[in-house]
Assembly symmetry: C2
Homo-oligomer: 229 residues x 2
Amino acid sequence: MEPNISLVAGLIADPARSKMLMALMGGKALTATELSIEADITAQTASSHLGKLVDGELLQVRKQGRHKYFQLKGQHIAVMLEQLLVITSLSKPQTATGPSDPRLQFARVCYDHLAGELGVKLYDALVSEDMLQDMGEQSVLTEKGKKHFTGLGVDVAALEKAKRPICKSCLDWSERRNHLAGSLGKWILDFTFEKQWAERGLDSRAIAFSAKGLKSFHKTFLIKPDVQN
Amino acid sequence: MEPNISLVAGLIADPARSKMLMALMGGKALTATELSIEADITAQTASSHLGKLVDGELLQVRKQGRHKYFQLKGQHIAVMLEQLLVITSLSKPQTATGPSDPRLQFARVCYDHLAGELGVKLYDALVSEDMLQDMGEQSVLTEKGKKHFTGLGVDVAALEKAKRPICKSCLDWSERRNHLAGSLGKWILDFTFEKQWAERGLDSRAIAFSAKGLKSFHKTFLIKPDVQN
DNA sequence: TTAATAGTTCGATGTGCATCGAAGCATAAC
DNA sequence: GTTATGCTTCGATGCACATCGAACTATTAA
């Protein structure tokens, strides 16, 4: 018997469960009650759902005192969900593209890297500055790019040795443009939080930049201010 | 409201529908009755399912006389399904890896390119012959590779201009190794059928090579015969 | 100890939906 | 014309499962 897609799909198919999964796309671990609120259901129902998601190996649990923290089991799960988002966004061109919440539209976390308008701008800037070479789905860091990021403290050589690709361009479901994933994408997001240029919003997927932080972000990654529109 | 993943997931969640989708992963268009047989349900039920799949924009229909030919609506659908297969195969390491049907194991179609053992061998051969440079998820055709495929009649320059990446290595769910996707992967599969080295099996995802065809395939793409094992 | 909070188990309820039989409508073969 | 084949619509049946109230366990607070 072939591996049964329908089991996994069935887990995602329930609206309450898919809401939980979406909330966890922010990469942050959430407790059972937080997730029950996110999904707008009672704690009992949430408990049942979470049990199934863990059984189905979509989620991971960590027990901490009387709390239980859930998070996506891994990279592949996030990739899969993002892929589903791409499909649903492509199949509904009549409704306005992208999330209704403008904060989600502007900058949001895609599991462990930056997406949304700002994510796309970042990608474009790196390409137009010749630090990144756009090759469709595959992107390569140029010598200039390597130098620039080494200057920022990135151990490029270490990243190159890792299994995970350094730069993977990934279709953004709200912008339908490429943005930067891979280990470098993750590094940039971590760096942004570390420098306190931004913090995670209440909706765990949204990112709130401070005015100063946004300026520093632009400067560091050579993003030019919008000339028009 | 964000695009609703659960709707699409719900379409895949039903066992009958997922069987149909798997059958269509072969890339070939199939009629409603063929799909009903594949899913092991009556024609009425199949009709209902197919209607939903078309409504949900996962499938495309083409009417031809009294027949209706269905096929996956596009690349993204196939990518999504393959991603789901990867997840399900990773989450069940206890059962034997890969499909039970040895023919599927050996060579099968993954939407529009070659997968299975032979697909993996092809990929490895191209890498070890320095025609392809393995870079994790991103692979690049070397000068030597370009020359070789140009000699076979591939218009490499044209492929490079297209949006679709030339070589995309794609995780194989049965072998858990990379195989060659992208426009070059598609070209190789088309070439194989054109030369009549192989033909599609009854199960539309399996590929049946003739003895002679397999030999030619090996020779053309510089795959060395198994030394041991 | 008592009270509050986080999470779970159980049982009852209701609904959505896959399934198929029967009948109907096309298109094709004879 | 008649007969066969491919697909669809309708209605009835039955099952799987999401949901919540109630009651229970475990951890922290006071």
